[in-house]
Amino acid sequence: MSSSVIEVTTPQPTPLGSHPVVEVLRKLFRIPPAVFGVVVITLTVFAALSAPWIVPIDPEEMDFDNLLSGISAEHWLGSDQMGRDTLARLIKGAQVALMVSLGAVGLGVLIGVPLGLVSVYFRGFVDDAIMRLMDSLAVFPSLLIAVGLAAAIGGSLTTVIVAIGLANVPWMARVIRSQGLMIRELDYVAAAEAGGMSHPRIIIKHILPNSVAPVIVQSTLSMGYAVLTEAALGFIGVGIQPPTPTWGNMLQQAFPMLDQQPLLSVVPGLAIFVLVLAFNFVGDAVRDVLDPRLKGVIH
């Protein structure tokens, strides 16, 4: 470095022969909470995917001999007032939680990122128009959008994903825009423009790859928030409707039984708590590894 006069700001220099993704993962696995998070998420995904094989009990099967049972040999995590197995329902609920978080964050990225990129690239009026739209959308908490949509079209998996996804859009757009603003001003973008490269090509080839880090961080953190929102919607009864078990509607059905069988209320809540914690740990660690400057910027 001593001979170089101009310091070029590039992303973290990587040693020869190792792919940047491998490098990021290597750093990630040195952070203990991140390891915990990855393990929890992997286990949840595994359980959700292999539900029919690892839990031989049907989540809707009613065992009338064991109503509201505590922890027992037949029902490892107990059973509810209709004799349904809590563990089987919990794992079925994990499928829903993961689908909602993936779907909602995916939707947010798919709409928000292009809007943010177009905004930053064309600037001026386009930027103003898109950003005012994003400001407006950001006023609605995801729960409020979901409640409004549920009133109009009824609660379902699609409603929940669309509502949380829409609430994610402005944050994704803002995050990629704030990063892209700096990239947009760099000489190589001007060079690409002068070279006659088309607008979409410049956006996709030059601006997107260099602005994507904060989007990855925001996405991981939003996954946990999506799980929380889905649970809240299920609890007030406007989310995904029974008989499909979700962690939220399990808590709703358990609430009247609180004094008779508290275990029913404890288990799904703990599941939500641990999964959200896992997403947050991974999100925080990814942020620290990809771009420490983002500390305090993204919540």
């Binding site: 908490p141 409004g148 109009a152 079209i153 007030i236 809540g269 708590f273 919540h299």
Partner: protein, 317 residues
């Protein structure tokens, strides 16, 4: 300062137009004939009566005209009538808002009153047991579903110990003692996430300020540590906290929808959830509108307060 406020107010106009349109557009998402959705369940009308409903709600006009009429009425405080009890929705919302504001503000103040000192202490005594406990609690506080914490609190303090009431609400201005007793658990559950975020923000802001040169200079001059922290560092550390504090409005309102349902508190959120089940569409629409506007103005006030507190911000660029 004034030009800055004027500019922020001007900027808010298009946002207001878009927000109100978005809320109105919920009506367009109703599948089938919206006239049927507006009459509530259990009532069956023939074509002729439906035509009257359509005329009454201007459903036969172009969308933008419909929106204009709806907005005009909303501006005059007319949000339509609830199909549940035929009362004007605006009146109903006003009664309910009083309840939501009472325990929302208590939750909001509690979250800052505990969060800021906890964050400061955590930063000042970095690496000690105080820091460790506060940090673990704040990490947990962000990840815990607030309504589940509420359920667990009901289980412990209501069902097991019987110390506190777990359902209902008493107006704090009519019976302060009973009002507070009813409010402790819901406000605690509602405030937990905000508390955790405020604590985190205060901690990191304080740490950042303590690492700055002017703090080192103050210490080098032999100033007492207490003066350095409380007089020199705190003022600057609190700036970013103001923003986080202001941004909690949306979280508090969204949280209130769930917490009110859990504790049977007759606030706006509870009203909204009941309206969904009663298929009282315009009531939901009105409540969503009111909450969105509240969040918008809270954000505006936060920006202005921030600009007022931070002399580095240029007001009239």
């Amino acid at each position: 300062m004034w030009p800055y406020i004027a500019r922020r107010l001007l900027q808010i106009l298009p946002v207001l137009a878009i927000i109100t349109f978005m809320v109105y557009a919920l009506m367009l998402a109703i599948p089938g004939d919206p006239a049927r959705a507006l009459i509530g369940p259990g009532e069956s009308l023939d074509e002729e009566q439906l035509a009257i409903i359509r005329k009454e709600h201007h459903l036969d006009e172009p969308v933008l005209v419909q929106y204009g009429i709806w907005l005009g009425n909303a501006l005059q405080g007319d949000l339509g009538r609830s199909t549940q009890n035929q009362r004007p929705i605006a009146e109903e919302l006003a009664t309910r808002a009083r309840v939501t504001l009472q325990f929302g503000i208590i939750a909001w103040i509690l979250s800052a009153a505990i969060g800021v000192p906890a964050g400061i202490a955590s930063a000042v005594y970095r690496g000690t047991a105080v820091d460790y406990v506060a940090t673990v609690l704040s990490i947990g506080g962000v990840a815990i579903p607030n309504f589940w914490l509420g359920i667990m609190a009901i289980l412990l303090f209501g069902v097991r110990l019987g110390w506190l009431p777990t359902q209902g609400y008493v107006d704090i201005f009519e019976d302060p003692a009973q009002g507070l007793r009813h409010m402790i658990l819901p406000a605690f559950a509602l405030g937990i996430t905000s508390w955790a975020l405020i604590m985190r923000q205060s901690r990191s802001a304080m740490l950042e300020v303590l690492a700055q040169d002017y703090v080192r200079t103050a210490r080098a001059k032999g100033m007492r540590e207490g003066t350095v922290i409380w007089v020199h560092a705190l003022r600057n550390a609190l700036l970013p906290v103001v923003t986080v504090f202001g941004l909690q409005t949306g979280r508090i309102f969204a949280g209130a929808v769930v917490i009110e349902t859990l504790f049977g508190i007759p606030g706006m959120g509870n009203f909204m959830v009941q309206a969904i089940f009663a298929r009282d569409f315009m009531a939901v629409q009105g409540a969503v509108l009111l909450m969105a506007l509240a969040v918008l103005f809270a954000n505006l006030i936060t920006d202005i307060v921030y600009a007022w507190l931070d002399p580095r911000i240029k007001y009239d660029e």
